[in-house]
Every structure is written in structure tokens, then in C-alpha cells.
């Protein structure tokens, strides 16, 4: 079980969702993806859409400033 990191703090809609979706498709079943993202649209909707698509959102934590980390298990 590997852990992968994806930084989408410099991305804008729709690439925040697109990059997360494509990364989740790439990694193996059971792998963990840590997504660094900003408050607002990405924080509100990236974990929500991951959960809706059947991925397991393990946790959301504050990193610094307006950056947060969402941990998703495939």
C-alpha cells in the first residue's frame, strides 16, 4: 500500500477536480492519496466528489494558511 501526494494549490477549476480524478485513477486499489488544496471550492468539493465516487476520505487537516490536506484511500 503506497502513499501518493498531489498538490493542487496552484490549480483552478476544473483542473483541481480533473487532476485529483486522474491521479485516483492511476494509483492502485488500497493506496492512499494525500491532496494539498486551498480553502473554498477545492476544499468544499474535492473530498465530497471523491466520496461520491466511492473513494474513502480518511481525513482532512489544516496545513498552513489557507492550505489543507485531504487524505483519500482508493
Amino acid at each position: 500500500m503506497a502513499t501518493h501526494t498531489l498538490d493542487i494549490t496552484k490549480e483552478h477549476c476544473p483542473m483541481t477536480f480533473v487532476k485529483t480524478k486522474l491521479k485516483l485513477a492511476q494509483i492502485a486499489q488500497g493506496d492512499i492519496l494525500e491532496v494539498l488544496l486551498l480553502e473554498g471550492e477545492p476544499l468544499n468539493n474535492v473530498p465530497k466528489s471523491a466520496a461520491e465516487q466511492g473513494y474513502h476520505v480518511i481525513g482532512i487537516s489544516h496545513v498552513e494558511g489557507n492550505v489543507h490536506k485531504v487524505i483519500i484511500k482508493k
Binding site: E11, H12, P14, M15, F17, V18, L22, E52
Partner: protein
């Protein structure tokens, strides 16, 4: 809508303008990334977005359709609906998009393909413009008519852009 039923968005891409195509592909890729099944049906000027030759070329069966094909061009020669300034507008937009780290139209098309969005070409418009499926990128799944489009878009949301 039942939980196990996949949400669906179907877009009729009629416009061959840079900004409208950007809007269509932004909606399409965003929807696909959050789990929607997405179909884009390209018709008339929208067909420019899926041409294999992205610049100006003499595609089309007859002299007249070849001239049309050349004037319409492909993805890289799409004009903006406002402030086109004889072709400078899209270049300025591409510059601003890169500068602000916003996906360009070409990047959105690449993302649409990577996300497995269903791309369809309008059979009737292809016939009028003298285009064949081989004139399009190979990711175009099929050529469709109205009845088939209504069938694939059934049960979802449909947008005309």
C-alpha cells in the same frame, strides 16, 4: 435520481469560438471529474474543435467545402466571440490563461480525452461541410444523428453552447 444511477451531462457544442468552446470543455471536464458521464455532441462550427488538423487546412470533399474548411480551421485557429482583433484575441487569452495558471483550451481537450468523455460528431453537419470521421481525432467515438443524441442524453442534463 437513484443513488446508483450515474449523473449525466450532455453538451451540444455548436459554437466554434474559442471562449464558448472553453466554457463547454470546462463544464465537461469538471463534470466528468466529479463523476458525471459526459457526452459532447459537436455540430456545425463546433466540429472545428475535434478536427485532426488543428490549424487551417483544406479539409472537405469539394472545392467549396475545402474553402469552408480552410476558413473555419481547427482548434488552434478558433476566434473569440468578442475582441477577436483579427486573431490576436485568442493569443491574448491563451497568454492570460497560462499566466494565471488556468487550463487552456488545448489542455482542457486533453483532459476531456484522459477522462474518457464521449465525443460525438453530428452526421448532418459533417455531410454539409464535406467532413469524414477520419478528419477528426481518433477519440471521436461515433457520428450521430438527432435520434441517437436524444437517446444517449436521456435522463441527464443537456446544454447548448
Amino acid at each position: 435520481m437513484a443513488d446508483n444511477q450515474q449523473k449525466k451531462l450532455s453538451i451540444i457544442a455548436f459554437s466554434g469560438e474559442f471562449d464558448r468552446l472553453t466554457a463547454a470543455f470546462t463544464l465537461a471536464t469538471g463534470a466528468a471529474a466529479v463523476g458525471y458521464e459526459v457526452n459532447i455532441f459537436f455540430t456545425f462550427w463546433g466540429l472545428d474543435a475535434i478536427k485532426r488538423k488543428t490549424g487551417r487546412s483544406l479539409v472537405g470533399g469539394t472545392f467549396l467545402t475545402k474553402i469552408f474548411g480552410f476558413l473555419m480551421g481547427g482548434l488552434k485557429s478558433t476566434p473569440t466571440s468578442r475582441f477577436n482583433f483579427f486573431g490576436a484575441g485568442p493569443r491574448i487569452f491563451r497568454f492570460l490563461m497560462r499566466k494565471n495558471n488556468v487550463a487552456t483550451l488545448e489542455e482542457l481537450v486533453e483532459a476531456a480525452i484522459a477522462l474518457g468523455i464521449n465525443l460525438y460528431a453530428c452526421e448532418m453537419a459533417m455531410h454539409v461541410l464535406g467532413l469524414k470521421q477520419s478528419d477528426f481525432i481518433h477519440e471521436v467515438k461515433d457520428t450521430l444523428g438527432v435520434a441517437s443524441f436524444l437517446e444517449i442524453s436521456e435522463g441527464g442534463r443537456t446544454l447548448f453552447i
